[in-house]
């Protein structure tokens, strides 16, 4: 079947298998930041934005994205650059595998709640799992970014 969608601002038309998952479609189109973690809808590593809202690309058919806009980290480098350095400065990542999902969902968080409390950050990022860290470094990084904006 044929689908047409906007991927990181560009119109993409493709012929796909009806059962193709969005994650595979995106990786086939060069968006290698989108990764498979659990594939059981639990870890948040495959997070992308559909019409601006964060979703799990491992759990949606590419066919459903027909007519919609999808954004991945490849298209959001500038927005991410604002805060990723603060997370790195806290030594939050160990292996770093969970990082693209965290960054995507933090973008969604900051768009929806520009000045979140620590509890709001924890609640919004609860669906992003990290096997290495205790989540504290990520929280500290986002907090120091928010503090730097105030300063």
């Amino acid at each position: 079947m044929e689908i047409k969608l906007t991927l990181n601002g560009r119109t993409v038309t493709d012929h796909i298998d009806p059962g193709l998952l969005l994650i595979d479609f995106l990786r086939d189109h060069g968006c290698l930041s989108v990764k498979r973690g659990c594939e059981t809808s639990n870890c948040g590593l495959c997070t992308v934005l559909m019409d601006g809202k964060p979703i799990l690309s491992c759990s949606m058919l590419a066919a459903r994205a027909d007519g919609h806009s999808i954004q991945t980290l490849e298209g959001l480098q500038e927005e991410a650059a604002d805060f990723v350095g603060f997370i790195a400065d806290q030594g939050a990542d160990q292996c770093g595998f969970c990082n693209p999902g965290f960054v995507m969902n933090t973008i969604a968080l900051l768009r929806e709640i520009p000045n979140p409390t620590d509890d709001e950050i924890r609640a919004y990022l609860a669906g992003n799992l990290c096997r290495c860290s205790g989540y504290d470094g990520q929280l500290r990084g986002i907090r120091s970014y928010l503090n730097s904006r105030k300063g």
Binding site: M1, P18, G19, E39, T40, S41, N42, G44, T47, M50, K53, P54, I55, L56, S59, M60, L61, A63, R64, N105, A108, A123, Y124, L125, A126, G127, N128
Partner: protein
């Protein structure tokens, strides 16, 4: 994961219904539960073009389309004013924001999952499901029925004046609940709904009139004891039957006391 041969965005409920009579065809909601299964789906029937993704609020009811997602339930101001935040409390620990942006009300209710936070809270309210062929059915009756090939079109929640409290016990945030408990008082009548027993949620009413003369620590304890004694529980890897029965009493008591505090 299951394998999907065809994908159809239906243009009418009749088209969806006809396709859904095929033994190997399936309606896809958020697809999160379906995807965990194996085997193959001949035709995936997508309702996303039918405008069923909105919550309509009138003076006396909420009409919630089958394709509304759990995040919409969580953020809807009217629903959360009406339930004093219980609707949001019921869904906010379901996996994560990204997951709730996909999981649908239709799939959640149709599934009648034992562990369902969503079903537990909706059973504490004056809720009905609208089926394409079956018409309007009280949610309590629907929750007890077997699955068939009808289509869940929307959920209707009447704004019967009431108060609601939702609680769930989880071993860890975002895991499946060990036990869910919603209590309500609508027009002076109390219910406790216990889910994740681990089987489907059931409604317990105050048949013994334990709360008729008001909520006190003693009457709340008596009702909690009655609920814990009437709800069958079972064991699985998240908790034993005895622990669940204990939790049913504790959560009911806390919930009723909280209702009492609201006057």
């Amino acid at each position: 994961m299951m394998n999907i041969r065809n994908y159809v965005r239906v243009q009418s409920l009749e088209e969806a219904y006809e396709l859904n009579q095929g033994r190997k065809n399936r309606i896809i909601g958020g697809m999160l539960w379906l995807k965990m299964g194996k085997g193959s789906i001949q035709t995936a029937i997508d309702l996303c073009d039918l405008g069923l993704d909105t919550i309509e609020e009138t003076e006396d009811q909420f009409s919630i389309g089958a394709m509304v997602n759990l995040r919409q339930l969580e953020l809807h101001p009217g629903l959360n004013v009406y339930t004093q935040g219980a609707m949001a409390a019921a869904v906010r620990d379901i996996v994560g924001v990204q997951f709730r942006n996909l999981a649908t009300v239709g799939g959640s209710i149709w599934g009648r999952f034992g562990f369902s936070d969503v079903l537990t809270q909706l059973l504490a309210m004056d809720s009905y499901v609208e089926l394409y062929k079956g018409g309007l059915v009280p949610l309590e009756d629907f929750a007890a029925c077997k699955h068939d090939n009808d289509i869940l079109v929307r959920l209707v929640v009447k704004k019967t004046p009431g108060q609601f409290v939702y609680q769930a016990m989880r071993n860890q945030r975002t895991d499946f609940p060990v036990l869910t408990c919603a209590v309500s008082r609508m027009e002076g009548k109390y219910r406790a709904v216990i889910g994740a027993r681990p089987s489907r949620a059931i409604v317990v009413r105050d048949e013994k009139h334990l709360l008729d003369s008001g909520i006190t620590p003693e009457s709340a304890a008596a009702f909690a004891k009655f609920v814990a004694g009437s709800v069958p529980t079972g064991s699985n890897l998240r908790g034993s039957a005895a622990y669940r029965t204990h939790l049913a009493g504790v959560l009911t008591q806390r919930g009723i006391l909280e209702l009492g505090g609201r006057g």
